[in-house]
């Protein structure tokens, strides 16, 4: 019941917002998203006392082929659901004080997106998972298409088709799995335990990996990303970067490693190298980006590259690091994009060369921005550090030289972030920044929460470790043969 409520409340909310009219759309949406957050909080409580069994939902959905409505909430899912349900209210709140045409549609799509994301994280049946995965794509596409920037049409279409291409390959992979499965079902428990020959796994690996790699994105499948992030409306970018790309990473852990261990054994090394190349490559590109959102997009590519690398390291440190870092990156990158939005909102530009001197005009904003930047460059005691430390250690256990190479991210990350910060915030105010009102109340709340999370997680990450430890151990036991 709990699970059902958790899943369907956002859908209901989306409908309510859609029918509620544009005038109060944002408030209604926020209220319902907070309600969902409250449900999540309650779910955490239940999880602590009763464990994952309390969330088990199983209904036969389609008889032939056997698809079941199988939902579950283990630690890993719970972490992702918390991330989603925590970020969505903040994302909605970030849209206050902004003029949004047809607000009811906008917020309703955001909530629809939340529904799909929660579904992705809770689905324990391959096809159900796939459906949620695809459904998540629709609202974000329309958000970007309807409310995006000037070049949105071509760019969002590219994004849509590119990611859909990956997804359809995954669908193909799932169908293959279905028929390889002697029980002929998509149930995750059976997929974990079934035996597939190395040959089949090795090409199935690419079916899945491509889908995830495009979504995450891992270099060289990243070229849709910067453009899409730039052209999407801020809330869209936040959804995309904060939660949606986590779908890919989550799926690597949940669906790729344990289902295709032999495939991972064969190709994991290559994937790992791709990830690590991506880290350095994207970091270097970020150094000289001229647009703030582009820079953040490339920094995101670098960060998620490291997360994915940690996963392919196939050890508990790497996996734990990736989960923690998913959460941390979700918060940080959303915070960064929100800061970019605050700047754009007041100056109408995101070109780095046109900005400067904001520090002086908006001290509170600057402080918050600084903290988010610090989180993102993984300063100890911020959330970014825990993840990055574990991830690099995971990679180190996998291969020393790769970890050296991947470790360059801490140098380059600092370089491009601080360079950006310097040019945007410090120095003398530029002509584009005649006046810069400090944070509005909603911005204060959003950034304030982010700052709290950044430090909270940085200082006491152990709850997340404890939540996901059993799941990750189980997944590792399936993925290392």
């Amino acid at each position: 019941m709990m699970t059902i409520l958790l899943l369907f409340l956002p859908l209901l909310a989306a409908l309510v917002v859609l029918l509620g009219g544009s005038k109060h759309a944002s408030s209604i949406a926020l209220g319902l998203a907070v309600a969902e957050l409250a449900v999540t909080a309650y779910a955490i409580n239940v999880f602590q006392t009763e464990g994952p069994e309390a969330f088990y939902v199983f209904h036969t959905w389609i008889d032939s082929p056997k698809v079941s409505f199988h939902l579950g909430l283990d630690g890993l899912s719970l972490v992702m659901v918390i991330l989603t349900n925590l970020l969505v209210p903040l994302i909605i709140l970030s849209g206050f004080n902004r003029t949004i045409p047809n607000a009811k549609g906008y917020f309703s799509l955001i909530l629809l997106m939340q529904f799909a994301l929660v579904g992705v994280f809770m689905a324990m049946d391959g096809l159900l998972y796939y459906i949620f995965w695809e459904v998540a794509l629709i609202p974000i596409y329309f958000i970007a298409l309807r409310w995006g920037g000037h070049n949105r049409v071509a760019i969002t279409l590219k994004f849509f088709i590119y990611t859909l291409a990956g997804s359809l390959l995954m669908l193909f992979g799932f169908i293959m799995l279905y028929w390889y499965n002697p029980e002929q079902s998509f149930d995750i428990r059976e997929l974990y335990t079934m035996v597939i020959s190395q040959e089949n796994q090795s090409w199935l690996f690419w079916m899945f990996f491509l889908a995830f790699a495009i979504k995450i994105p891992i270099v060289p499948f990243h070229t849709w990303q910067a453009d899409t992030y730039r052209e999407s409306p801020t809330q869209g970018t936040m959804l995309l970067s904060g939660i949606m790309l986590k779908m890919g990473i989550y799926s690597l852990i949940r669906w790729l490693l344990p289902v295709l261990p032999l495939g991972v054994a064969k190709w994991g090394q290559l994937a790992m190298i791709l990830c690590v190349i991506g880290i350095v490559y994207a970091s270097i590109i970020a150094l000289k980006q001229k647009n703030l959102k582009n820079l953040l997009a490339y920094s995101s590519v670098a960060h998620v590259g490291l997360i994915a690398a940690g996963i392919f390291a196939l050890n508990i440190q790497g996996l734990q690091g990736s989960v923690v870092q998913m959460f941390a990156h979700g918060v940080n990158v959303v915070g960064l994009f929100f800061c970019a939005d605050i700047i754009f909102n007041r100056t109408n530009t995101n070109e780095i060369s046109e900005l400067g001197g904001i520090r002086n005009l908006a001290p509170l904003f600057s402080t918050m921005f600084t903290i988010v930047v610090l989180g993102s460059i993984a300063l100890p005691l911020t959330n970014g550090f825990i993840g990055e430390f574990l991830l690099l250690y995971g990679v180190y256990e996998y291969n020393v030289w790769l970890s050296v190479f991947a470790g360059l991210t801490i140098i380059l990350g600092a370089a491009y972030m601080l360079r950006m910060f310097k040019k945007v915030m410090l120095g003398q105010p530029s002509s584009y920044v005649p006046e810069f009102p400090d944070l509005y109340w909603n911005e204060k709340i959003v950034l304030g929460v982010f700052v709290l999370i950044i430090f909270g997680m940085g200082i006491y990450p152990q709850p997340i470790f404890n939540l996901v430890e059993p799941v990750l151990q189980d997944i590792l036991s399936h993925s290392i043969l």
Binding site: I62, F172, I175
Partner: protein, 463 residues
């Protein structure tokens, strides 16, 4: 059987109402009649079996089985949608209304014959009833040269294909000595592979069917005819007729040729591949909406050929489900397109410009229909594709399914062209008249699309 008779009777009633000058009641009466027929069809589900006609056992001619009843049901629903839309579509041609509607009723009869034949004679007659009626409808805008052209092209090529079909049937008859599917099947099972005449005949019949379902390289008629025909007729061709031909094709392959021999399967694989590629690729560059849907129809034919290839118990269900979802999505799209066309006077994609702002609800319907055609979950189109692909993979057609997956990615692009037009372009200020019946049809179609996407069991479990 009764279904067929009632339907034919309905056609007669239509003609009679013309004489009695009751045109205004025509559409309601037909819809009512279809409801009755749907009920009759449902009843024949339970006692499907040999067909008795005037005391004679006609089971060698028609066989009412679950397959035919299920398909008939889908076709009746599709026809009901078409009739509902015809009320407004033919508003300016009231004096011909009964003619058009009667012909459509007869097409439905032909389609029912196609779903349930058990004799090549019946198959041939079914095909011809549908085809000849369509030639008429395609060319029915007499003063429109494009309609004339569509009718003529369709007629010439269709007749040519009929001749090929007949030649094939003749050779089959020559080889097996019968037109009965059962006897042909037993012949095929015994000598099929050794009899050149049988092989040639079956190949020619297959070619004729490939023409009727618009598979490459027999597809050339379809874009031109779809474009030139009156839009409602295009809808009819794209939905009811296409699916009934597929049902007939499936019936022929499964009960006539007793499964599929490796040669035919290779040929069908090649044709399916070419169909998917050509259909999807050419659709990319279309600017006319009907033409776009024609190529989309070609592409979908490619996917449905996978179901023909698979030929297992489940693949009939898959075909039924796919056909139903395809019909729903296409009719849903046309329910929006028809009034837009008549309001703007254009049939190109830019007729939809700005619809997202002007009529968000209507635009939403079209969007969902397009998404269903593109196979995006949770709409039914996704599950349709999924079933077809799954069956094909299960039967070992992995490579062709992979191609189908890849081409369906391309497909997304052109479906989205329509969506983009609605939401990103400004468009002219022409007022879009949107009659009630279109909205009702659209809503029902989209609702059914969503419903089938969420609970496919109702339709999937039938066969």
């Amino acid at each position: 059987m009764n279904t067929l008779i009632y339907t034919a009777g309905l056609g007669m009633v239509c003609l009679a109402m013309e004489i009695l000058d009751l045109r205004k009641l025509l559409v309601p009466v037909i819809l009512l009649g279809l409801a009755v027929i749907f009920g009759v069809n449902l009843m024949s589900w339970a006692d499907s079996g040999p067909v008795i006609f005037a005391g004679l056992d006609m089971s060698s001619m028609l066989l009412v089985d679950h397959f035919s009843v299920a398909f008939n049901g889908v076709l009746i629903v599709a026809a009901a949608f078409l009739f509902a839309m015809s009320h407004d579509f033919y508003k300016d041609e009231q004096h011909h209304l009964s003619d058009y509607l009667t012909i459509i009723v007869f097409i439905l009869c032909g389609a029912m014959v196609l779903t349930s034949y058990s004799n090549l004679v019946m198959m041939f007659l079914g095909i011809e009833i549908v085809s000849i009626s369509l030639y008429i409808l395609a060319g029915s805008r007499r003063h429109d040269l494009r309609s004339n052209e569509a009718g003529m092209k369709y007629f010439l090529m269709g007749s040519f294909a009929s001749a090929v079909l007949l030649f094939g049937i003749t050779l089959l008859y020559g080889a097996s000595g019968s037109f009965k599917l059962t006897e042909i099947a037993s012949y095929a099972a015994t000598y099929g592979m050794d009899s050149p005449m049988f092989l040639v005949g079956s190949l020619l019949v297959v070619c004729a069917f490939l023409f009727k379902v618009a598979a490459v390289p027999f597809h050339f008629w379809s874009p031109d005819v779809y474009e030139g025909s009156p839009s409602l007729v295009t809808t009819l061709m794209a939905t009811l007729v296409k699916v009934s031909f597929f049902a007939a094709f499936y019936r022929l392959m499964s009960s006539g040729f007793a499964g599929i021999d490796p040669h035919t399967s290779t040929i069908l694989v090649i044709v399916a591949a070419a169909t998917m590629i050509v259909g999807n690729l050419v659709a990319l560059k279309q600017i006319n909406f009907k033409r776009l849907l024609a190529y989309s129809g070609i592409a979908h034919a490619g996917y449905m050929l996978l179901a023909i290839l698979s030929l297992k118990t489940n693949s009939a269900s898959a075909l039924l489900f796919y056909g139903a979802t395809y019909i729903l999505a296409t009719i849903g799209a046309f329910a929006v397109a028809l009034p837009v066309f008549s309001s703007t006077g254009k049939e190109t994609i830019d007729a939809f410009d700005g619809l997202g702002r002007k009529k968000p609800f209507i635009a939403g319907m079209l969007t969902l229909s397009m998404l269903s055609l593109a196979g995006i979950p949770p709409l039914a189109g996704f599950l349709g594709k999924y079933y077809i692909f799954s069956e094909a993979i299960h039967n070992g057609y992995v490579a062709i399914t992979l191609l189908a997956v890849i081409t369906s990615i391309i497909g997304v692009y052109y479906y989205f062209k329509v969506i983009l037009a609605m939401y990103t372009k400004a468009g002219e200020d022409t007022e879009i008249q949107f009659p009630m019946l279109y909205s009702i049809v659209g809503i029902i179609c989209v609702a059914l699309s969503i419903l089938l996407g969420l609970w496919p069991g109702g339709l999937m479990g039938l066969l």
